[in-house]
Amino acid sequence: METLERILAQHQFFKELSPEYLTLVTGCASNVRFEQDQNIFRVGEEANQFYLIREGRIALQLFSPDRGHITVETLSEGDILGWSWLIPPYYYVFDAKVLDVTRAIALDGKCLRRKCEEDHNLGYELLKRFSSLLEHRLETTRLQLLDLYGVRS
């Protein structure tokens, strides 16, 4: 049987995390499932979780009164959803809406923050991983902003 710890260990995000820290992280993890069109979180809600998507697809959206729900990015298998749990004041700034039925591992941000405060090495390990994630998302967002496929005028 696949245990949560084993699933986390095999995920790229936790690659090379020591078994000791993996056990600590697993203590804050749980399996979750979301149905199509369900909102996992909404703008302004307290950010107490992040998710490792195992299956399914999620749209990160913003609502604009004149344009409705605008999808800025979609995430799917292997992706990480949510980093607001890590950065004060810990509120989500996008809506996360389920496009296809999604299975994920939810990680309790409050629980992880507490463990990171107690053990700064764990905090550093997690921050290294989130920095890399943020760098990647920033890079792809910048490319999106370049509007590369638009016709040059």
């Binding site: 999808t71 490319l143 496929y149």
Partner: protein
């Protein structure tokens, strides 16, 4: 060097500003031999000549080109109808390494109007499908309405031996597909990085970041190919219009192995 007259057999509008023309030679044998990735110089009589990559099946009976109506010549071309005549010189340039890709996983990455130059290679590989490992097409466009070859993409998606992922940079309401740049799809492709060949076409910045993403995932840079575009005029490396450092895109390209040009791609002086 003289253009051969070809008759337009069919014109198909792909998107608001993109169209496909099917051509038959006015005289002589009908078959037009070319290698996937090559381009022709298309001449709209009285207007001018432009390089356009071939987008049809190398085994097909007609010559097929797909382009965007963006300049004087292509805008004039977009107004041509069935029965009109167009001049063709070619085929020119290097081709996609479909033979080298045998027994490997093959990942095609197209950005925007980059899908047409890749399509002949995809046809070729699909017609000898058993000779290749996993075959994946990653396609990114600006918006959902810019997606080319929609019907064909649906057919490809229905195949069990080809994986197709599409993403858009800007979603319209009602779009339930992927949103994000095409490089984000690479991690979804699930290829064997030690035995993968990548073929990339799109804007240069997109191709460069795509190549980097493949390398980040362990693909050797010698197994990454991309197709370049410059102001090709003569098609045979004489006029110098498409000179790119020490190479001519029309003769030494348009298809290059990434290490051949990676240093040139970041030199804005050339």
């Amino acid at each position: 060097m003289l253009p051969r007259p070809f008759v337009i057999k069919k014109v198909r509008r792909e998107t608001e500003d993109t169209f496909t023309v099917e051509l038959d030679p006015r005289e002589g044998r009908s078959r037009f031999d070319f290698l996937p990735g090559q381009f022709n110089m298309l001449y709209v009589y009285g207007v001018g000549e432009v390089p356009i990559s071939i987008s049809g099946d190398p085994a097909g009976s007609t010559l097929v080109h797909t382009t965007r109506a963006v300049g004087t010549v292509t805008k004039a071309m977009a107004k041509l109808r069935r029965g009109d005549v167009i001049g063709v010189r070619g085929p020119f340039g290097t081709s996609w390494p479909v033979a080298e890709a045998r027994n490997k996983d093959v990942v095609f990455v197209a950005g925007g109007i980059g899908l047409p130059p890749l399509r002949p290679a995809l046809y070729e590989i699909l017609s000898h499908r058993e000779s290749y490992g996993k075959v994946v097409l990653l396609y990114g466009t600006r918006t959902p309405s810019d997606i080319l070859f929609k019907d064909e993409l649906e057919q490809w998606r229905a195949r069990f031996d080809l994986e197709v992922f599409i993403t858009v940079d800007r979603a319209s309401s009602g779009w339930r597909g992927n949103v994000g740049v095409v490089t984000t799809l690479i991690q979804k492709a699930g290829f064997d990085s030690r035995n993968t060949l990548a073929m990339i076409v799109g804007p240069e910045v997109m191709m460069r970041f795509t190549a980097l993403e493949f390398m980040k995932r362990g693909v050797n840079d010698n197994s990454i190919y991309l197709s370049m575009e410059r102001n090709m005029k003569c098609g045979i490396g004489l006029c110098g219009h498409c000179q790119f450092g020490p190479v001519f895109i029309c003769k030494d390209g348009p298809v290059f192995r990434y290490p051949q040009i990676k240093d040139l791609m970041v030199k804005w002086e050339i």
